[in-house]
């Protein structure tokens, strides 16, 4: 018994052939069209160091006002945008400006790390740490970037102990760390200048 299908019109193959044509067209097409979408200036979580074997301040497009009496280190190595030395009465402190990707671990993790660097212990999740984090001074820089200034001298016991002043500036989800390390008493003396440096951070206007 052989049953032949009577109807086998050419139209039967239209879907098959059009699919084939569509596939050829799609596979040949390419395009770098502009997409538009809306996003919040959300922080990026990944931390990464700046590329390249060495670095100079170069022509970075951020600017700041160097406080009087501070000496800019002429050739900064590593990932720094700039570095300063502050000398007075046989004491020296160092201040650096370092850009980092995203939150760079977040404020809390960095504060814990900085506290460790000056041998002050605060347990993560403890009230003491939460209180200290809340004491951070918040302000906007000249360029309108939100900044938190953490004064670790307040938890450093002795005036001659090593301490840290640190500011985290947030720029479109990325961070710039301005950090000053030196003797507690020296840092206290230079705190206003440090704050002024942070507040002066802005975009270069000539572009």
């Amino acid at each position: 018994m052989k049953m032949k299908l009577k109807v086998k019109k050419w139209t039967t193959y239209i879907p098959l052939l059009s699919a084939l044509l569509l596939m050829v067209l799609i596979s040949c097409s390419e395009g770098s069209k502009v997409r538009k979408y809306r996003e919040k200036a959300a922080p990026v979580k990944k931390e990464a160091a700046l590329p390249g074997p060495t670095a100079t301040p170069g022509h970075t497009h951020f600017q700041w006002d160097k406080p009087d009496g501070w000496n800019e280190v002429p050739k900064t190595r590593g990932i720094r945008l700039a570095a300063f030395t502050i000398k007075s009465q046989n004491r020296e402190s160092i201040c650096t400006i370092i850009p980092l990707k995203g939150e760079a671990g977040g404020l809390k993790a960095n504060v814990i790390r900085w506290l460790g660097q000056i041998n002050v212990k605060m347990e993560p999740g403890s009230n003491k740490l939460d209180k200290f984090l809340a004491s951070g001074e918040k302000f906007l820089t000249k360029g309108g970037f939100p900044t938190v200034l953490m004064d670790l001298t307040s938890v450093t016991p002795n005036p001659k102990d090593r301490s840290i002043l640190a500011a985290v500036i947030t720029i479109d989800g990325n961070s710039v760390f301005i950090k000053m390390i030196g003797e507690k008493s020296h840092l206290i003396k230079n705190k206003e200048k440090f704050k002024a440096l942070c507040q002066s951070f802005s975009l270069k206007s000539e572009m």
């Binding site: 052989k2 049953m3 032949k4 299908l5 086998k8 050419w10 098959l16 699919a19 084939l20 596939m23 799609i26 596979s27 390419e30 395009g31 770098s32 069209k33 502009v34 997409r35 538009k36 979408y37 809306r38 996003e39 919040k40 200036a41 959300a42 979580k45 990464a48 700046l50 590329p51 390249g52 074997p53 060495t54 670095a55 100079t56 301040p57 170069g58 022509h59 970075t60 497009h61 951020f62 945008l81 850009p99 980092l100 990707k101 671990g105 977040g106 809390k108 993790a109 814990i112 790390r113 993560p124 999740g125 309108g144 720029i171 479109d172 990325n174 710039v176 975009l203 206007s205 572009m207």
Partner: protein, 384 residues
Amino acid sequence: MKNQLKKLASNKIIKTGASLKLTVVCLVILATLVVWGTVYQAEHGLYQAQQKFFHSWFFLIFGFIPFPGTVLIMFVLFLNLVCAIIFRIPFRFFNMGNIITHMGIIVLLVGGFFTFYFSEESSLMLRERETSQMSESRHLWELAVWEKKSGERDIYAVDTKGVDAGDSILIEDLNLELQIKEYYKNCSAFRDITDTSIVENKMINASGIQVLKALPNAAEVTDNTAGVVFSVFNINPATDPHKTLLLYGEDVLPTPVTINSQTLFFSLRKKKIVLPLSITLKDFKVTFYPNSTIPKSYESRVSIKAEGGIKRDVVISMNKPLRFKDLTFFQSSYFISPDGSEYTILAVVKNFGRLLPYFSSILIFLGLVIHFLVKLFKSKKRSR
């Protein structure tokens, strides 16, 4: 029409195109590619093997002998099946099983085609209590431009896949034209350059990067870091001189440029994909094998909300992905930061052809059942 088809069927090219010999040759080459690609992958990495053997039309052996790639073989196989159905397999009732099976294989190939060209893979990293509506590609890059704004902002993004030196990109909303001068799929960046000819070019970069140097593709695609050098022209009103920017994928800062008193940020970053739902990570749990740091299982309890939809809680675990429209969210990895914050990493796969393999499997199964039943019926009839 039937006569015309018969005429066509006798054509040599059509005959070859529909022949079983071609199918066998294609399958042998395909098997060779699979074995070769697998061996190649061990030394050169998954991405290189994929690009050379499975995502190519052809490649060169020893730099001059062409060999067909999987894309070409699959395309020939597809044409071969189409020709076979139209010209070789008789359209009879007793052949129905055979035809349906072939149709099933065609659907499978079409599904593969859609997956190859349209599927998008990205990842979503969320901290506990964090909400996001955006995932990030693992290897594709975008050149993003936005105006200086706090809070929400409009991003104009150009996918850099297919972008090459000499290309021109118009961003009409911002009155900008970008002319690509150099594009690197993988490169390294340098700042401490003493060559004055390079420094005099004065390419703008927020971190002070002065030059990019091309690198060969990394073994894993995710290890590539793109770089681009381009000129920005204001098109309305047209301005000259233009500004030349240098962007590097791992650059820590977006590069700001002021054009006609408007400050714009430029960044070369991993492609962002806007999702049709927002996801909040409510809780992340990880359990370890006893006395080890090897995770036994991990799961994310998330709350999802589509536009205009109702908020609902879902658990995504290692073998229980979340499916939403044409998106699938897989529990891919996790991260615990030094301060103890837990992050989940979800792989987000968008695939329009997701259901085609199921459909094709049903067709092939049905076709084979019909075919065997018909054969059984025929042999029983003969034995009588």
